[in-house]
Symmetry: C2
Subunit: 160 residues, 2 copies
DNA sequence: ATGAAATTTCTGTGAATACTGAAATTACAG
DNA sequence: CTGTAATTTCAGTATTCACAGAAATTTCAT
């Protein structure tokens, strides 16, 4: 499925394998199971470690590095979202701010265009600030909250 | 910024241009502004229409097709999320179900592995069901809700 | 220190994707 | 109809990305 998500195939395969494996795996086990080059596995493991969802562990009496994946899906989700915010949203917001600053100095900028940019900035600010708060909720609260669904609206007293 | 988001550069450019433009644009205007081939613009417009965020409009007295983009950022977000759910999440859930069914018929499957798959399925089920509800909230309610942030936890009576 | 095992870095190749320009098709005015 | 403008499809090219295998580096036991 990895490719459909826009993720490198081998990276997705390594991650999937580590995720479902009951015990940490070493590089050679990944090479054998996935039938890819050793160097490729090395690169993928580095990538996954860069995302903070795979870490190296040592097995007593074994010289080789072993790797294990973060196992809690909710924690996993939080880590990935936070990392994507850092890599994708934050630079976008910075860019947006520069565009808006630029448009302020450029009187011929269409008012409409400037408003669209401000809309976008506001959207990212609102959603980012919200995420930074809920990411700290304990998983149990998050699940209970989600299962309420629409009921939240009534409890909070807005909307039907 | 498009490329960083894993989106085709020209598609992102066309979309950005239509988004900030006060009026619908025709293909030639896009070609001139972005300095890309006519055929490329045609493909990108088709792609964006496939996502449901750009639509064709006609300007009186002008034979050429014009295009305009969905302007409300919250609506835009909803459309994109819904489409991504359909394209990415739904097939993943289906695949997961097949894997779990398969593992039921295969007694030698590690219990741990099966549990990880079920965890994943549950995660997607919970988050998808939640999204299908909140996507129908009016934007005003959604914004008010988000701005509450952590306060929601207290109102609902769980967590600190 | 020395050598073997493990790992990473580097380079070239193949595959996938994006794009252009030409040809084909469609839409429409006269 | 016919011809022109507009648009799309197609085929070839270029660019980007993923990967394998070799070479280089690191790690560690002796």
């Amino acid at each position: 499925m990895g490719t459909r998500w826009g993720i490198n195939r081998t990276v997705a395969q390594v991650h999937a394998l580590l995720f479902i494996s009951p015990k940490p795996l070493n590089a050679d086990e990944l090479v054998e199971t996935l039938a890819v080059a050793r160097s490729n596995v090395s690169t993928c493991l580095k990538e996954l470690q860069g995302w903070g969802i795979v870490k190296m562990v040592h097995i007593l009496g074994d010289k080789r590095d072993h790797f294990e994946c973060m196992k809690d899906v909710w924690d996993l989700f939080r880590v990935v979202l936070t990392e994507r915010k850092r890599r994708e949203i934050d630079p976008t917001m910075q860019m947006l701010n520069e565009c808006i600053a630029e448009s302020d100095k450029t009187p011929e900028t269409d008012t409409y265009t400037r408003e669209r940019l401000c809309d976008l900035r506001e959207f990212f600010e609102t959603t980012s600030a919200w995420y930074m708060q809920i990411r700290q909720w304990p998983t149990s609260a998050l699940i209970k909250f989600m299962q309420l669904g629409d009921k939240v609206l009534k409890v909070l007293g807005f909307g039907a």
